[in-house]
């Protein structure tokens, strides 16, 4: 059998395969480039950017939980100006779609960041983070407010011709309502899901293990939730979905695609196995050959319910 076609489309975006690396788990590319050939993966999503640099939260920022981890980084990032000056030149060297993730504190900041960054040819698309659980202002409030998500989608779309993906919060009752408003306001796709709000205590000191009290839960522990959210969107709203949540291996990727994802993002697994994407791609190819699948994209939303 000839090599299976792993390429996928997410709306207007075309990727050589469905494996993207999630924001906050790939930095700005340079560390990961030591482990994997960035040109072999579908795309990378940069660490969330804000207009000005952000210092982030004080330690402790990370704690491991059962089959998962909580993080409260607090959107530490270099800011838009430094990103353009010092990070883009490195990323330019690769032939890999670059999705720039933006996290802001106000509607105006989302729009302003997009307006500046859209001038950069190296950036293929934007992913708008309306769902970071770890910063006091913005973040979670936007992600929980259908109207705010709609307004941000429309505002960002108005200042860029590049595709706009909205990263949705799972900390809501009906995620499909958010996907629906994204579609109505012209958003090109949604990513689902961001982390779930969680906490953990030290039983001796009785203090939260994370300085910020709450953190975002990620890792294999959240996979069933993420799959249910992807499926909900897929059944209710006609919008491309990028599936995220606890993917550790190629089987997980197939599961997300069956549930409705056109592409996926690897997150926490990059911390453990920075070359996971390479291993997963090989697994996907073998699976297609064994199953006689010529085009992997045909698996998207192939659930039988």
């Amino acid at each position: 059998m000839k090599k299976p076609d792993l390429s996928v489309k997410v709306g207007k975006l075309k990727f050589r395969n469905p494996i993207l690396l999630a924001s906050g788990t790939v930095g700005y590319g340079n560390e990961m480039a030591e482990f994997i050939d960035l040109n072999s993966i579908g795309g990378i999503v940069t660490k969330s950017l804000s207009l000005k640099p952000r210092k982030g939260n004080p330690p402790q920022r990370i704690v491991e939980t059962a089959a998962g981890m909580l993080n409260a980084i607090g959107l530490q990032n270099v800011g838009v100006e430094e990103f353009i000056k010092n990070k883009i030149p490195f990323l330019k060297k690769f032939n890999v779609p670059l999705i720039c993730n933006i996290a802001a504190s106000t509607y105006e900041e989302y729009v302003e960041c997009t307006k500046i960054l859209t001038k950069e040819d190296t950036i293929t698309a934007f992913e708008i983070n309306v769902s970071c659980p770890n910063v006091k202002e913005g973040g979670l409030q936007f992600g929980n407010d259908v109207k705010a998500v709609g307004k941000i989608t429309a505002g960002v779309k108005a200042v860029t011709d590049k595709p706009v993906i909205i990263k949705l919060s799972p900390n809501v009752s009906y995620i499909s309502e958010f996907a629906k408003v994204v579609k109505e306001e012209g958003g090109d796709a949604v990513s689902a899901i961001n982390t779930l709000v969680g906490t953990a205590f030290n039983i001796i000191t009785r203090k939260p293990k994370i300085k910020n009290i709450n953190g975002g839960l990620s890792g294999p522990a959240i996979k069933p939730i993420a799959l249910a959210k992807v499926l909900e969107i897929s059944r209710k709203v006609d919008i491309p979905i990028i599936g995220i949540g606890g993917i550790m291996n190629w089987q997980d990727v197939i599961e997300f695609m069956i549930a409705g994802a056109s592409a996926v993002q690897l997150g926490t697994v990059n911390f453990i196995d920075p070359n996971a994407a390479t291993v997963i791609l090989k697994g996907l190819e073998d699976f297609c050959i064994k199953q006689g699948i010529e085009k992997l994209s045909g698996v998207t939303a192939s659930y039988i319910i």
Partner: protein, 253 residues
């Protein structure tokens, strides 16, 4: 920085549930420097999920050693590894100790498991430099002297060595340092490092410390291990990439 599947050569229990795991990892053994660390995957499954960071304790030909106590599930699994089992390790990571410099005596200050990086440190140290080791712990059970030289001991409860903490022990023996060009190298709990910083600043001693912080990746992408910088308070440094060894003047402890 490589990921290797390293066969276990041996696990030895020193005493009081302190273990040394010896792994066959030729490339890492040839590259790693004192104070650098490895991020070790203890299980093939999702629990424990994250790698565990360990300072390199020693290097012998193609073998790298790590030292640990049983702290949680991960270290419990590591303590039970048998010869020939494979352990997935990522390293060398971070910036280690700067052994060069204009000093004639290396003063080592270690609290509890803070001894871990120093056997390899001593092996790599120029042979013409003298060594004084100050080792402290809460009780005699916490005192580790594995491969250490010229050891002075203190315990909080007085069960071994001087009663008091290791910085007090250092202060009491200050006369041993007179007339020498000293550089201090330290590793231990944060409280110890904080009081050591005060001590070093007041006696104008150059000091490098190996710091510790919860982290996920170990190579700079998770941003989970911030440490406050004295030079630029507007941003954090990362323990995994900018450290774990810092000059004591450069970090807020």
């Amino acid at each position: 920085m490589v990921i290797v599947k390293a066969p276990v050569k041996e696990v030895i229990e020193l005493e009081n549930q302190i273990y040394i795991l010896k792994l066959f990892a030729p490339q890492i053994a040839s590259e790693i420097k004192p104070g650098e660390f490895l991020n070790v995957k203890v299980s093939d499954f999702c629990f424990p999920l994250l790698r565990r960071p360990f300072s390199v304790c020693d290097v012998e030909k193609d073998l790298v050693y790590i030292m640990f106590n049983i702290f949680g599930e991960g270290t419990k699994i590591l303590s039970k590894k048998k010869e020939g089992e494979i352990v997935d390790i990522l390293g060398p990571l971070g910036k280690g100790f700067n052994l060069k410099g204009d000093y004639d005596t290396a003063v080592i200050v270690a609290g509890g498991l803070g001894v871990a990086p120093f056997p390899y440190f001593l092996k790599e140290l120029d042979k013409d430099k003298e060594v004084l080791s100050f080792i402290g712990g809460r009780t005699k059970k916490d005192i580790i002297t594995y491969k250490m030289k010229n050891v002075l001991i203190s315990t909080d409860d007085g069960s071994r060595g001087m009663k008091g903490n290791v910085v007090q022990l250092l202060e009491k023996n200050l006369n041993k340092l007179t007339g020498r060009k000293v550089k201090v190298f330290a590793c231990g709990p944060n409280a110890m490092l904080r009081s050591l910083k005060e001590f070093c600043l007041s006696h104008n001693l150059d000091c490098e410390v190996s710091t510790e912080c919860a982290m996920a990746c170990g190579f700079g992408i998770c941003q989970g291990c911030p440490i406050e910088s004295t030079k630029d308070p507007s941003k954090y440094m990362l323990v995994c990439k900018d450290g774990p060894v810092f000059n004591i003047k450069d970090v807020v402890l």
